[in-house]
Symmetry: C2
């Protein structure tokens, strides 16, 4: 076990009906006016907006709407959100949506408190020192953003997908009501499963030190994800499966599964972010393509852990067999495993490789993930 700090002050309010209490949580924190960030108008059609506005009104909390946030959220919309938040002097950000809305909300929360251009915070020119308090109601379980201090946003001018991470960005309260996730499409369910698994396997495989305790926790969560995804594909109304899937997604990236691990990195995310930035593919769909391709390239660097994975997740012997089992499972649930399924061809590889080089610098792994290596990994996915 390497030395570590575990600190996660986010309050998770998990379960049915918890969204009705958002006003109370805001009031407890002394909030009077929020910027209410959301994505599509679906939250209005499906009634969640009414629940939220009623709860806010009951506590005398005003709101300013900031809707239309898209998947693979963009910095231009973040800038608009910052302007709105300043114009209306809100004292908190309320995110109602999935990871894209929440990550945009975090960027807005940080940007409001930063005097310069918000993208500075993403490309390392400045650090997030403070942020408006952030509250979330989650409608899609995947990114784990509800219980961590990180956010990923795409710069739609430069085609860069970069991240920020800083303690002020921990949500104060995140409401996770699995019942709100029953309307998630089949596609987004399987992309979410892929995203959660990617969060779990990055440190599991890449860490130079990955003790058995965190490895066991990772395997417990992956097994939960595979089992509940299959149950939800059969019956999207299975609340129990939806709930365990959601809690596994939260725990997958809240610090728990890599506490005590050391020397790990996020190569799959670094590569996938370029697919999203250049081709606007759903993050989870990009990850289910990259992860098996990366695994095939990485296998010999950590064979024991791949054998462990094969056995404890898929009940098969041998690292290669474990990778094949994961890829077959992705095929079975219907998330892509090859670049052409994303509309990406061999001719596109140089542009991706070039874009990845910026990401691997940001992720601190440029020495290993040279253009040649990234090309080799991408070729595994053709």
């Amino acid at each position: 076990m390497e030395n570590f700090t575990f600190f996660n002050p986010t309050r998770i309010e998990f379960g049915t009906g918890k969204d009705q209490l958002i006003g109370e949580h805001l009031a407890e924190h002394g909030i009077k006016k929020v910027l209410l960030c959301y994505g599509s108008e679906r939250i209005k059609r499906e009634g969640l907006f009414d629940v939220v506005s009623k709860s806010l009104s009951e506590k005398g909390i005003a709101w300013v709407e900031c809707g239309g946030i898209v998947s693979n959220p963009v910095i231009s919309r973040v800038r608009e959100g910052i302007a709105l938040a300043r114009q209306h002097h809100v004292d908190a950000i309320l995110s109602v949506g999935g990871g894209s809305v929440l990550d945009s909300s975090k960027a807005i929360a940080a940007g409001v408190c930063y005097d310069g251009e918000v993208w500075d915070l993403f490309c390392g020119k400045a650090r997030v020192e403070s942020a408006l308090p952030l509250f979330a109601i989650l409608t899609l379980a995947a990114t784990g953003s509800e219980m961590n201090p990180s956010a990923v946003v795409t710069n739609d001018e430069t085609q860069e997908k970069f991240f920020i991470s800083a303690a002020p960005l921990f949500p104060k309260v995140s409401i996770v009501n699995p019942a709100l996730m029953q309307g998630v499409s089949r596609d987004y369910l399987v992309y979410s499963a892929s995203d959660v698994i990617a969060h779990l396997i990055e440190s599991y495989f890449t860490a130079t030190v990955h003790p058995k305790l965190p490895s066991r926790l990772v395997e417990s969560l992956i097994n939960t994800v595979t089992e509940t995804t299959e149950a939800l594909l059969i019956d999207p109304a299975n609340y129990e499966a939806r709930a365990q899937f959601a809690w596994a997604a939260t725990l997958a990236l809240n610090g728990l599964t890599y506490s005590g691990a050391a020397g790990f990195s996020y190569p799959n995310h670094a590569i996938e972010h370029s697919l999203s930035a250049l081709f606007n593919v759903p993050h989870g769909a990009g990850l289910s393509v990259i992860v098996p391709a990366w695994m095939k390239w990485y296998l010999d660097r950590n064979p024991a852990q791949f054998e462990r994975f094969a056995k404890n997740v898929f009940g098969v012997d041998g690292g290669e067999q474990g990778i094949a089992a994961l890829q077959a499972w992705y095929d079975k649930i219907g998330t892509p495993t090859h670049l052409p399924q994303l509309g990406i061809k061999e001719i596109d590889l140089p542009a991706i490789v070039e874009n990845v080089q910026r990401n691997v610098r940001i992720f601190g792994i440029a020495e290993t993930y040279t253009p040649e290596v990234v090309t080799a990994i991408l070729k595994n996915a053709l």
Copy 2:
């Protein structure tokens, strides 16, 4: 999954050398003077006191000593600590020791902020509304108190062992340095293993709802405890085993393993607390006697979970076989499994049963744990 709240704001600083930074953590919280609680003079002989006092001095933090806190800590010493804290106007409590010192520190932190008699907070006459900020350096991994808001103290006049639990009692920072635990005796190591396992199995078996996700996490932690305990019995200097044991102990009672579970209770603790209160037996030693006895009585009420336990923890088939395997494992590591090993005979049972009745009321399980039932469980342990 039942609705739940997960909220745990304690910062864990885990690893070697982290105790040297206690002054910095206190200074970050604006602390100027602490009540320094500890147990025996061992921390002075072994150098930890010097490390702490040096770190405090460097940050200009004053301290008042409150030593001599014993295992199964008593409320009379807590009262003395409260008087000292008030007399010297300390603005925080610093606990340097194991669970007994930390629980006493929590009681002092709460008692200083309460106008009445501190025992009121334990027997339900008053609630903990506020407390002095609390910081901890852990020297024994067992109780999980370093990352939860609970404390157990014995009233040495009334022979009651009761608990308090309230959000103000979350430590602000808990330093867990496994290297400080290498001097723990063989006996206290195995008692600690028993304590951690008891924390993990109470909700696992008694919950009316215990989803597979938390069950998997519990099994991951129990398997970590059994494996690392055996490694430490062979080589007490095995830092890796010591570290994974310590982190498993923290995670066993920080909210993680019962989030989503419902209807669970702590019957083994309710019964064991009477053994400690009446006979001053080490808590973990009492638990390794009570747990198998309780399991035999409880088996038929949750047979599927006992089968699961047998298979996933000990690799055996059948609930009875799982209980036998746990008891055999306790025997193997050398923690008691029968009351006579604690010096308790059949003639003592009525007094224990009577004392337990107060505990089961406090724990809210008096309807199930009638004198007849408790007698039956205790007889399983003769």
